[in-house]
Symmetry: C2
Subunit: 275 residues, 2 copies
């Protein structure tokens, strides 16, 4: 084991990519890290303040801070590169080998991965429209306008429908509706008539009853709603419905919302639009 | 200019990181790309199917497809590396130089960047709770429980409050409430008494009237609500309120929801939790 290292994630944009990738890289080493995320380092002045912060840590600890960064403007990146940190440019690390393969030099442009530009404004508006659509069709609020849905998630209360729908809309611009099956439906569980014309867009979410109990207990301790018996009953009935109607479904228990959302896109053959 | 190249983004997880980073790299070259995103390439069988797909394109076009990938299991990655593609491992490209700096070998672990593990389950539940909180406090629905908010966004209708709040909750686990000022408030615009105790958590969003008109016209064409006169009035009044109450605020017009959210965290000094 080595001493704790300071790690910086720096970008002229949101620093989301630098942070995600840097975490993945750091996780490959048995090093304890204390990390700093510094977005919007867009000018020389802010870069100099960052450089001073990096150098101060180096003076104090004697260990070079590790720096994962992505900055397009040469004069701003130069300031970071002149710091005492061990600097890795996450984008450039892949540009150099690619230049060889393509046989052409890069023509750097200011690329705002998570930015808004004239050319992606229409796409961006479509994404905001998808969020609006999903909020208006959350939790079965409205069964009108399902023609416009690209996917309709079904499942019991608290199985992950709402976060998954919102993630689909937010990250991929997918118009996702969702519809809950509630306790009162269980005596004679049927697919609501309004959903039948949209059979091909239906996707089921299920969950292990044990996990469902834990989640529901957080909300409504010691209620029938949160009892093992009720959770088992609901999950069993709903899974049977999915099977009898040949609705594709996924058990969400061990997956994050990112994983559930991307699996749904994959299974349903929906193209992702990245933003 | 060169011919169109096929580009693959491949991962044993969601492939979100591979895609975002790969896009950033590709944008540095004047190349037209037709791209394929292949998540959940977790076993040799699926990897072989991917390899066949890469090789088929190479046979057909005579151009090696470009492959940005991240796969932890050696036997699975080996299959991809044996394809005819020009393969770049987005994580390993940074691991090798870091190994030198740290002077220790990597101890690879299966790292699911967007995955759910026993160790991050508590954090994950907190994130889902943040989404629940934000939905329950969207658009001024409830002014109760604002003690629990980490940030309360203020602004006119359609200036970006809801997408920003949801992004803060979804991506960073931040409990974000939001409150709209509506047309009826404008005659005598005041900060609602319920918000006053939370002054330090208030953050304003504003927007150029021209852009606001365009957004509102989409929803409600030729209404007073969407008129330039009304939009100018509302934005002017609300900005004056922000200034007189010393509420920090941001003009959202030229920023994406990612940028607005990270700027708010940065300005308010809120720590981001990544998921």
């Amino acid at each position: 084991m080595t001493a704790e290292r300071s790690v910086f994630y720096i970008s002229d944009g949101t620093a989301i990519t630098a942070e995600v990738l840097g975490h993945a890289v750091m996780s490959q080493f048995p090093v304890t890290a204390s990390s700093f995320t510094l977005p919007f380092v867009e000018n020389v002045q802010r870069a100099q303040a960052v450089k001073a912060q990096i150098n101060a840590i180096f003076q104090q600890s004697g260990l070079r801070p590790l720096v994962f960064f992505s900055i397009v403007q040469p004069e701003v990146r130069e300031v970071i590169l002149q710091s005492e940190g061990f600097c890795q440019d996450i984008v450039q690390a892949l540009v150099a080998p690619l230049q060889q393969e393509l046989g052409i030099p890069p023509a750097p442009v200011v690329h705002r991965t998570h930015g808004l530009t004239a050319s992606n404004l229409g796409k961006y508006d479509a994404r905001i429209a998808a969020i609006d659509y999903t909020l208006a069709h959350d939790d079965g609020i409205s069964l009108r306008g399902l023609d416009e849905a690209q996917v309709i998630l079904l499942g019991v209360s608290r199985c992950g429908k709402t976060p998954t729908s919102l993630y689909l809309a937010m990250q991929f611009g997918v118009r996702a509706a969702n519809y809950p099956f509630i306790a009162d439906d269980m005596d004679n569980l049927k697919l609501p008539p309004a959903l039948k014309p949209h059979q091909h867009k239906l996707f089921g979410l299920t969950i292990d009853p044990e996990r469902l109990v834990a989640i529901r207990q957080e909300r409504a301790e010691n209620t029938r709603y949160a009892s093992m018996r009720q959770c088992r009953l609901e999950v069993g009935e709903v899974e049977a419905l999915f099977r009898s109607h040949q609705i594709r479904y996924l058990n969400s228990t061990n997956y994050s919302v990112e994983e559930i959302a991307t699996k749904i896109l994959d299974i349903m053959g929906l193209t992702r639009r990245m933003y």
